[in-house]
Point group: C2
Chain length 360, copies 2
DNA sequence: AATAGCATTGAGACCGGTCTCTTTTTGCAT
DNA sequence: ATGCAAAAAGAGACCGGTCTCAATGCTATT
């Protein structure tokens, strides 16, 4: 009569053992797939398990083994195609190796990142892949190592930490993009980033706490310095975090007495926003202004014109990071390795020589 | 001398208790935040915990409480903006309620979905949100209920299961889109879906196992039937799973003696692919052909022309699903509820009256 | 001063697995 | 038959928390 609609207690090894008339240890051996058991007994246990619909409790298993089979990933923003693609790379590799992935968003904020890390460590993840929001604050990351959880940094490196890191070659990528614009005849090149700061302007590139952002800015500046361009730093603008802000940044640049003739977007989200801004302003690309975006996002090929982009093999970067972490999880102690993934430039239609009128 | 570089054993309540000179139970009370403890003792324990850098083992905690604080989510493909946006909605709500989210991809395959569900139940997730790949196979989903884990279906419903479901109003959405095209003068409207089947053609819409896909197809057909259009079903094509296949589907449609004058894409990925195909073919939208895509993806606003879309409030759908699940997790037994989220049409520039030449 | 009564703290079982160690069976050689 | 090593099965501790229940201490009441 009191058929339990929701069987409150789940079936355990002990239950199966009882049903199969063997000891808990024996049942555990066949159910857990370890130790030696005779074929006859194995059959019995398996039959009993099937009849009872036994499902192993991974939690209990993890508790005793100390391994959870979970890899924790902390990224800035999964919405961003960059991260979601990277996460897929990580997940694919992880799944193949029998690991699961828990993803946590930091929103690029240090506190959120800290608590995400705490949380994941609490869940006893076997390893961690983190995109550090800032490269100058690393106490919580040192904690990770102290606890003994392998860590791989992603997209941004903190050399002082002494852990594996997988990053793009941001300096080089920025230089290539800049050089392309210089070669095309541009002399006033703006670099627009979504980095959140007090000022829209850049004082000193060394003060940028995010290594990826810093390297790109330095790449842009270095290439221009080599070309003998003076006011390069003036054209580096930060804070394009949403559409209105991006509109503001772009407009302020274009209203300048000497407006830039080319724009470089620090990521595909910024790129999309800039494109929309320019569209709103009724500017034609590349006639009125040229642009290059980081990341070969899908929208960049369907615009008119299609956008020239810095191609980052993000999926591969994610894979690489996961592979590194997993080999460290299995293997003993590998030397710390910094993997830098080369990036390329895909030339499409958004770059042209600056028009005379602009190139006063 | 033998300073352990990697402290193999983590600090436990027992360690803290010992350091604080109190019983394990007392230390556990303050560390676990339950029961009553005097302020004095609390201080001691907290101090000891801090000194030892105690970190609770959530696994052990989950084991005894039976709650893992994790919500499992099984989606078709996180790459798809539809799912990634939904997942963010789910995650946001979950985080606010103190839950974590584990995401599993099914790739829209039943077997993968089954094992994902098994895996998540093994991890003892507190609840599950699943996007069932097929609505005609539900043994594994019944298992979930039998185990006593609350389940919410997302995007697709299986009424026979008798569980909560949050879906879009796909029938209505398809009808609205179709009506818009009819109103604009189109009489040959193609619906292109990424659904993977043997045949590119549709025999009987009732044979479609995915309820969302089915409803959309039925919406398209119904609206045309009401308008007295005869060969509507002929223009429903499936299998646009990647760019080459999409190219094929579109080309075969356009090479028909009576080619469609308008295309409806079943999701934003298919939409993007169709757009690229049309671009490759040198067709001008909406002059040569009109199109509507499902989902207001970001790329749809930067194309020339911008794409008219069926706007699905996916983020809200995700939120709603998570809210439902969580209230079921907390509350007692609510009645089964099917939430249908209204969708709208955002008219942009990709629909126009069919040109005379096409409308022979 | 004795004792009821409440606030704290302590002891120890328990969750559901894994795993070591011990005991019992089995198989085969002598 | 008998011995003995190897194989199979059983007992029970353990992982790191939670939680029940008992014990202790202190204040308040009469």
């Amino acid at each position: 009569m009191e058929e339990p609609l929701t069987p409150k207690r789940s079936v355990t090894v002990a239950d199966v053992a009882r049903a199969a008339n063997v000891s808990k240890a024996t049942a555990a051996r066949v159910l857990g797939g370890y130790g030696v058991v005779s074929d006859k007994v194995r059959e019995q246990v398996l039959a009993a398990a099937a009849a009872l619909e036994y499902r192993p409790n991974e939690l209990a298993r993890s508790m005793t083994t100390g391994k959870s089979g979970i890899i924790g990933v902390v990224v800035g923003d999964i919405e961003n195609a960059f991260f979601s693609l990277a996460v897929r790379g990580i997940s694919d590799v992880a799944r193949m190796a029998g690991f699961n992935v828990i993803i946590a968003n930091s929103g690029e904020e240090l506190d959120a990142e800290k608590s995400a890390v705490d949380l994941l460590i609490g869940k006893r993840v076997d390893g961690l892949i983190v995109t550090p929001a800032r490269c100058d604050r690393m106490e919580h990351l040192q904690d990770i190592r102290r606890v003994g959880v392998p860590l791989v940094l992603f997209d941004r490196n903190i050399p002082a930490l002494g852990v594996d890191a997988v990053t793009g070659d941001d300096l080089d990528a920025a230089m290539i993009a800049t050089r392309h614009l210089l070669d095309t005849g541009h002399r006033r090149i703006a670099y627009i980033s979504a980095m959140d700061t007090e000022s829209e302007f850049l004082d000193d590139s060394r003060s940028i706490s995010n290594s990826a952002v810093r390297e790109r800015v330095e790449g842009v500046l270095k290439e221009q310095a080599d070309a003998g361009i003076a006011k390069a730093r003036y054209y580096v603008r930060l804070g394009a975090t949403d559409q209105p802000k991006t509109d503001g940044v772009v407009k302020s640049l274009l209203q300048d007495a000497a407006p830039p003739t080319a724009l470089i977007a620090s990521d595909s989200l910024v790129g999309l926003r800039i494109f929309k801004t320019l569209q709103t302003l009724g500017l034609s690309i590349p006639r009125d202004i040229s642009m290059i975006s980081f990341l070969d996002a899908d929208w960049t090929t369907v615009t008119t014109p299609p956008i020239t982009v810095v191609d980052q093999p993000v999926y591969e970067m994610g894979k690489k990071a996961a592979e590194r972490l997993i080999s460290r999880l299995n293997g003993k102690d590998l030397p710390v390795e910094r993997t830098v993934i080369k990036t390329g430039l895909i030339k499409r239609g958004s770059v042209a020589s600056p028009s005379r009128s602009n190139d006063q």
